[in-house]
């Protein structure tokens, strides 16, 4: 949960050279080989199913879980937790970031405590959250919110402070008032850094959810996984993990799409 310095104004992340298209199929050789090896180990009994189920079993179990609605239900519950936790943390992070980015007094009063608190590993707050919020939905939402608020705050604040004073001056000479300068110059120039914050925040949100769902979950993906563990159903555990991974990848992809759209002025 650290602030990323990547993606500051003039350095589009998309400029990182990607592997050439031609080599993409070749890059699949080793992952596919690993899965085949895994299947072979399971089929020959080298890898017992109570340690790790075979890929084919995992796929079959996924099919069953989807068919009987269990996966859909757990998915919806977990998605809801991330959504509301993200909303809560997002509002807090953005409001604090705006206040401390746009006002000197705001920065003087808000920034020191936030900078101190961010050094706490927020996942370590679970014991306190349980004492404060019990073991229901609240600590799970609070954990996600805490994971989201800090990266959003830090990057929004940094983005606002990185505004080129030359651009602000140019607008001032053209007769733009302070509020207009904030709207037309300061906030737009904070967008790239804020999007970096958004991506970090979403990554942290999923991580916080996974950890939070270990707390006495009675629904959701965490419940599905923990329940499966009790019955040594490693296939269901793997299905849950894959769904977590897919969710993280999907939100990351959506932010990338958003970046490509909003930051298209950086494309050359």
């Amino acid at each position: 949960m650290s602030i990323s310095v990547a993606g500051v104004l003039a350095r589009p992340k998309t400029a990182v050279p990607r592997p050439r298209k031609r080599s993409l199929p070749l890059r699949w050789i080793s992952p596919v080989a690993l899965v085949l090896l895994w299947q072979a180990a399971s089929s020959t009994g080298v890898l017992p199913p109570d340690k790790l189920a075979s890929p084919l079993t995992v796929v079959a179990s996924a099919g069953e879980l989807i068919a009987d609605g269990q996966l859909g239900e757990a998915f919806a519950v977990s998605l809801g937790r991330v959504f509301f936790g993200f909303l809560l943390g997002g509002v807090v992070g953005v409001v604090l970031g705006l206040v401390s980015g746009l006002s000197r007094w705001g920065e003087t009063l808000l920034d020191p405590p936030v900078q101190m608190l961010r050094t706490l590993p927020h996942l370590g707050l679970i014991p306190l959250f349980i004492l404060w919020f019990g073991i229901g939905e609240e600590p799970k939402l609070a954990l996600v919110a805490a994971g989201v608020a800090f990266p959003l705050y830090l990057n929004l604040h940094a983005g606002i402070r990185q505004t080129d004073p030359g651009l602000v001056e140019a607008a001032k000479v053209l007769g733009y008032t302070r509020v207009e300068r904030v709207v037309h110059v300061v906030l737009p120039s904070a967008v790239p850094q804020s999007l970096v914050g958004l991506r970090i925040a979403l990554g942290t949100a999923w991580l916080s959810l996974i950890v939070g769902e270990q707390i006495n979950a009675d629904a959701g993906l965490g419940f599905l996984i923990n329940n499966a563990r009790e019955f040594l159903r490693t296939d269901i555990v793997v299905v849950g993990l894959v769904v977590y991974a897919l969710l993280g990848l999907t939100t990351d992809y959506l932010v990338r799409l958003l970046e490509r759209r909003v930051l298209r002025w950086r494309a050359r």
């Binding site: 030359g166 001056e169 053209l174 007769g175 002025w265 494309a267």
Partner: protein
């Protein structure tokens, strides 16, 4: 006729460092004045004060009309297309047509929808000029606007600025340390040294000027700047 710019006894200090030490300057409407001086002589500070970017001064100055400025860096908003950067000068008015005309004038008719980061240095500086001119300023302040350009682009920009000035006739105050540039463009050259106006020359030559026509003036202006003409020749 009232002056476009009127400055009397202007003092400005940053802490204990005096930057302007009693500057007097009048600029007539439509007059093209070049402000020459070494680095650190206070010429950019004077311009910033006139543009309203530096306050806390002693003395008085007045700029009754609309002021525009073009800086050494074009200072375009990179997330706005070129024409929207130009219409920024209109302050909220949706002036696509006006912006287009201004872009025609600076000879960038095909770049209205481009992103600023795709422009060359000279092109971006021309957009910056269009943004300054689109609000039809009475006073156009130019803060070494050609300083960051390559020599060939600079020559083209000199001609462009002269044409724009002749078409719109704002009073111009051009800050530069390039004597040839000042002689090529200005009606009057004001030399600033250690925060004071130390010399003022009218350049009474027909336009467009050729370098060969101002050899003698050049020697005199350089002498005011403390440069021996034998070295500069």
């Amino acid at each position: 006729m009232a002056s476009a710019v009127s400055i009397r006894g202007l003092h400005k200090a940053f802490g204990s460092r005096v930057v302007l030490d009693g500057v007097d300057l009048e600029i007539a409407p439509g007059e093209f004045v070049a402000l020459l001086g070494r680095s650190g002589c206070g010429k950019s500070t004077l311009l910033r004060i006139l543009a309203g970017l530096d306050s806390d001064v002693r003395g008085s100055f007045s700029v009754p009309g609309t002021v525009s400025i073009a800086f050494q860096q074009p200072r375009l908003l990179p997330w706005r297309r070129v024409w929207r950067n130009v219409s920024l000068g209109l302050h909220g008015v949706d002036g696509r047509e006006v912006a287009r005309k201004a872009l025609d004038e600076v000879r960038l008719p095909d770049h209205a929808d481009a992103w600023p980061l795709t422009l060359s240095g000279g092109e971006a500086q021309r957009v910056s000029l269009a943004r300054a001119l689109v609000r039809q300023p009475d006073v156009l302040l130019l803060d070494e606007p050609f300083g960051a350009l390559d020599a060939l682009t600079r020559l083209a920009m000199h001609r462009l600025v002269e044409d724009l000035w002749e078409a719109h006739r704002p009073a111009v105050l051009l800050v530069t340390h390039d004597v040839d540039e000042a002689l090529l463009l200005a009606d009057r050259i004001v030399v600033l040294d250690e925060g004071r106006v130390v010399a003022s020359h009218f350049v009474d030559l027909p336009r467009p000027r050729r370098r060969a026509s101002f050899v003698e003036q050049r020697v005199r202006v350089l002498a005011d700047l403390g440069v021996d003409d034998a070295q500069a020749a």
